[in-house]
């Protein structure tokens, strides 16, 4: 009984140590788990896969370094997928740190031989328009005029000097929107304005925490697909046959989940044993 009482009031530092072990140890043992992509992840993949070559896609980043471990692999996956399919990419962000992290994602992509050899050019195959304050108002304003909303790119180059941006006036000239967001302003604003008001098809990626909140948009088809957390990123990497931190970190996440579930089971056994003892 004493043992079970002790389990009920277990020092949380013991839980912390075991979770740390569950996360860290698998990082040093390289093994890959087979993914079974969720229908939501499959939806995003299918939507991008169907886009014709030469389409123009907006990829918006609303995340910061804190949430980058979850979102960055999605961003990298999306860039790779688009580049492989010959899709032109317009990067932007409604969070100040978003475009800088998008720049870092680009660097990661170009480290790989496959993409280095594509010889993609800034301004022609992809651009980064940078950050614009205002959240939903920015999206509304892009519906009227993208060049008026973003007169220059992130580095200050006038937008008319970028060949990719020639002929891009508003959402009518955008084939698809991918939004990777960790909070507000984020996906709900894009759904409300880019999809509902300006009728651009879109899909999103978000932190695992906010995924349940975005599920209603999937059922109503306002989102073609949704990547939820690191598992969503891993699904996307699996579907696009790329390697990345999503799949690499999946063993850590799997074992950490397993440890939490084991703790919950132990906690419940202890709870019932102690309660039975008290009833007697």
């Amino acid at each position: 009984m004493g043992f079970f009482r002790g389990m009920l009031n277990l020092d949380r530092r013991i839980i912390f140590i075991l979770i740390a072990g569950a996360v860290v140890v698998p990082l040093f043992i390289p093994f890959h788990l087979k993914m079974h992509p969720t229908p939501a992840s499959q939806g995003l993949y299918n939507a991008v896969e169907k886009l014709p070559e030469g389409s123009t896609v907006i990829i918006s980043g609303e995340y910061d370094p804190g949430t980058a471990p979850e979102i960055q692999p999605m961003m990298i996956g999306a860039l790779k997928h688009c580049f492989r399919k010959g899709i032109k990419v317009i990067l932007m962000g409604l969070w100040p740190q978003g475009p800088a992290l998008e720049g870092q994602a680009l660097q990661e992509v170009f480290k790989e031989k496959e993409f280095k050899e594509m010889n993609l050019q800034y301004g022609k195959d992809y651009v980064n328009l940078g950050y614009k304050a205002g959240g939903a108002v920015v999206i509304q304003s892009m519906g009227t005029s993208i060049p008026a909303t973003f007169p220059t790119d992130m580095a200050g180059t006038p937008i008319e000097k970028l060949p990719l941006m020639k002929g891009i006036r508003n959402f009518n000239d955008i084939t698809f929107v991918l939004d990777f967001s960790a909070g507000d302003p984020g996906t709900p604003a894009w759904v409300m304005f880019a999809h509902d008001r300006f009728h651009v098809p879109m899909a999103a990626g978000c932190t695992a925490v906010s995924a349940p909140m975005l599920y209603p948009y999937l059922q109503t088809k306002q989102l073609s697909g949704l990547l939820g957390g690191l598992k969503g990123a891993a699904d996307y990497e699996w579907l696009t046959k790329s390697s990345g931190t999503g799949i690499r970190y999946m063993p850590s996440q799997s074992i950490a989940h397993l440890v939490i579930v084991i703790f919950i089971i132990i906690g419940n056994i202890a709870f019932f044993v102690v309660r039975k003892g008290e009833k007697r």
Binding site: F16, I19, M35, G66, Q140, L218, A256, I260, I264, F272
Partner: protein
């Protein structure tokens, strides 16, 4: 008067915004943009107040050597270094936001790992909180616990490894987890959202009508 003027401004602005939602004709369609810009300008100037307050509170702590004054020294120094490098464009030609500048070096090597560390605390806290809270104390708690069990295992590949031998696919953990997310979760989310939307409408009406004034300190 101190209370009446803000209430009057709130009422007028609220009514104008409601009207503007239904009238696409100028100038009503530009009102939201205009107010958003005003808000951003006010917020930008208010940052000065925030920063001043931060410096005064922490400077005072250092001066008085009050409990935890060492942390205040770190706050003041960090602020001065980051703001100084950014404002005076130290080590950068055009913009401190370009790659390779000292500002971006600090962003990637100090700010980035610090922020990620704080966010990563969630992994530990989720474990300790769920260990404490997920106890089958009654029927509802048992239901919550079962759902948590399925979703936690079903959302990671290990769940599929545990159940992939079962010939019936709907008994696989990932299938059950997907079902829980797509139906019971979504229904509950919608119900909460409808409640919240009504709450927002009601609160906004109270603000516009001047009934809600506790945020101004009164009843």
């Amino acid at each position: 008067m101190r209370r009446e003027i803000p209430l009057f401004i709130t009422a007028i602005t609220g009514v104008v915004f409601i009207i503007a939602y239904f009238i696409p004709h100028p100038p009503f369609n530009q009102i939201q943009d205009l107010f958003q810009t005003w808000f951003q300008i006010i917020a930008a100037f208010a940052i000065i107040l925030g920063v001043l307050n931060l410096m005064v509170v922490n400077g005072d702590k250092v001066y008085r050597r009050s409990k935890g004054w060492g942390y205040s020294v770190i706050i003041i120094l960090s602020f001065l270094v980051m703001a100084g490098i950014g404002t005076f464009k130290l080590g950068s030609k055009a913009s401190p936001l370009e790659e390779g500048t000292p500002f971006m070096y600090l962003f990637y090597n100090v700010y980035y790992p610090l922020t990620s560390t704080v966010f990563a605390l969630l992994a530990f806290f989720v474990a300790s909180a769920s260990f404490r809270a997920f106890r089958a104390r009654n029927k509802e708690a048992a239901l919550l616990l079962t759902a948590a069990f399925f979703v936690m295992l079903g959302r990671v590949p290990i769940g599929d490894y545990l159940t992939s031998w079962i010939p019936l696919k709907w008994l696989h953990l990932s299938t059950i987890a997907n079902w829980i997310m797509a139906y019971p979760n979504m229904a509950a989310q919608r119900a909460i959202m409808i409640g919240i939307a009504l709450g927002i409408i009601s609160t906004s009406l109270r603000l516009i009508l001047g009934i809600e004034r506790s945020y101004l300190g009164g009843d």
